[in-house]
Amino acid sequence: MLYEDDIVVVAVKDVVYTPGQITVFSRQHFTIMEQVPDEVITKCMVVADKTSRAVFEVFQAEGTNILIQNGLGAGQKVPHFAMEVVPRREGDGLNLQWQPKEVNQDDLDIAAHQLSEEVAKLGDFTAPKKKEEPKEKKEGKELKIDAKEKDKENYLVKSLKRIP
């Protein structure tokens, strides 16, 4: 445990991409990023930024990656929302970069269309219209609750399997 307050906890965990990696996570339990309230995610981001700065200075890193693995499909291993701050150096052998994928232009267009429609539905989720946001979120959440519960079950089952 490096730092903690009412909202965020900063800690060093022992299963990491590279030594010096630091994890920022919310004190309250949220399984995935979508559950995290705005204030908390904002705070997490700010703390992650500061952690990144500290990493820059202390480990003389040439760069940092901030990584949120959100959902099982993204390789999330712990059912708790977390941001990883990974110090990077030239030639550290770490491959966090993806291979650009060739995607059909039509597919891209469709995706773009779908996404922009969905985002438009979400409305303007910027600060002045915060009041409306929770309602809109609920709509999205209801649909996702099933998925979340499944996730949780999966996690539980998996964690059970891991226990020897």
């Binding site: 490096l2 730092y3 307050d5 800690a11 060093v12 022992d14 990491v16 991409y17 030594p19 010096g20 990696q21 995935i32 995290v36 705005d38 995610i41 904002t42 981001m45 700010v46 930024d49 952690t51 500290a54 990493v55 820059f56 200075e57 202390v58 480990f59 890193a61 040439e62 760069g63 940092t64 901030i66 990584l67 949120i68 959100n70 959902g71 099982l72 499909g73 390789g75 999330q76 291993k77 712990v78 059912p79 941001m83 030239e90 550290d92 770490l94 491959n95 966090l96 993806w98 291979q99 994928k101 995607v103 891209l108 995706a111 773009a112 922009s116 969905e118 985002v119 303007d124 996702k144």
Partner: protein, 313 residues
């Protein structure tokens, strides 16, 4: 773009040397592809736009629906970005991620920020990648591995100080509270005792009386103003007078209240009580409330331990 000749290059270098920081920034902005995307000089597929940020589809996507979330201002790396903007970006990122999960049936999203070329940043414009994920798509190929406890301790020791200064040293406050708590029990009596003593600094007696009282004692209240004598603790102890029970603190003085003085007397009656109980009550309160916070934090730590266990696996 045609290759610049050496002369042109030199000219450029000189120009850049002579430029003010503002001009340099302006130049960076002109050169930045993403700034041109933001100002619509380069066409792009915009997904979301507001006054501070813009989300577009990546041209070299890791997966279908790979989004880039850009602040409209030009910042090269994350430390340059103001907190307000960062906070806004994270909220937008969350909502976009939600949209990705819902519309593209992704099994998850990866939010990725690269600071510096060593971290794989290609353009000099801060951005957040939002990548829709499916199991086994190999987007993040790096394997996590177990690092020894020594290493984690080293990391911890190295970064703790810097991090705390950056974060405003809130942990120190917490630590202090914790140490206070750990000290609270042995220090209980030490901190309590001076309180009644300080209150009892002044004693009141009557010129003819054989006892001295605390100022708030009911007996003291009964002393007529013209006979009142005020003593310090030393004086009171030196004088032949004996301490009232209010001073020794054994009993509460019982006084038959005069009907007219009932109000003023009932109060002083209560107050010596309080002064007596004050030794225990606030301490109890202090001890009562603080352990509960301990319990809370402990409970949370317990849950965090669980998380740590998860991490270990």
């Amino acid at each position: 773009m045609p290759e610049p000749t050496e002369e042109q290059r030199k000219q450029w270098e000189e120009k850049i040397k002579n430029m003010s920081p503002e001009e340099l920034q302006e130049l960076q902005r002109q050169q930045c592809i993403f700034c041109q995307i933001i100002s619509s000089k380069i066409p792009s597929k915009k997904i979301y736009e507001d006054s501070t940020c813009l989300a577009v589809l990546d041209i070299n996507p890791a997966a279908k629906g790979h989004l880039l979330l850009l602040p409209k201002e030009h910042y090269a790396i994350m430390p340059q970005v103001p907190e307000k903007v960062l906070g806004h970006l994270s909220v937008v990122a969350k909502n976009l991620s939600q949209a990705i999960l819902k519309m593209l049936r992704a099994e998850g999203t990866t939010v990725f920020i690269a600071n510096g070329a060593a971290a794989g940043q290609r353009a000099q414009h801060f951005m957040i990648h939002l990548i829709p994920r499916k199991t086994g798509d190999g987007v993040v190929q790096a394997e996590e591995r177990l690092v020894g406890v020594e290493m984690t301790m080293k990391v911890k020791a190295a970064i703790e100080k810097k991090l705390l200064t950056l974060l405003g040293g809130k942990k120190e406050v917490q630590k202090r509270v914790e140490t206070e708590l750990s000290r609270a029990e042995p220090a209980k009596e030490e901190t309590k005792m001076p309180v009644p003593e300080q209150e009892a600094e002044i004693f009141v007696t009557s010129a003819a009386a054989k006892r001295y009282h605390k100022e708030k004692c009911a007996f003291a209240q009964n002393i007529p103003a013209e006979n009142k004598v005020i003593l310090s603790r030393e004086e009171a102890e030196k004088s032949a007078r004996k301490p009232c029970t209010c001073v020794s603190g054994k009993k509460i003085p019982l006084v038959k209240p005069a009907a007219t003085k009932s109000k003023t007397e009932s109060k002083p009656k209560g107050e010596p009580k309080k002064s007596k109980e004050s030794t225990t009550e606030p301490a109890k309160k202090a001890l009562g409330s603080k352990p509960s916070t301990i319990m809370k934090t402990r409970g949370e730590e317990a849950s965090l331990d669980d998380i740590a266990k998860f991490f270990k696996r």
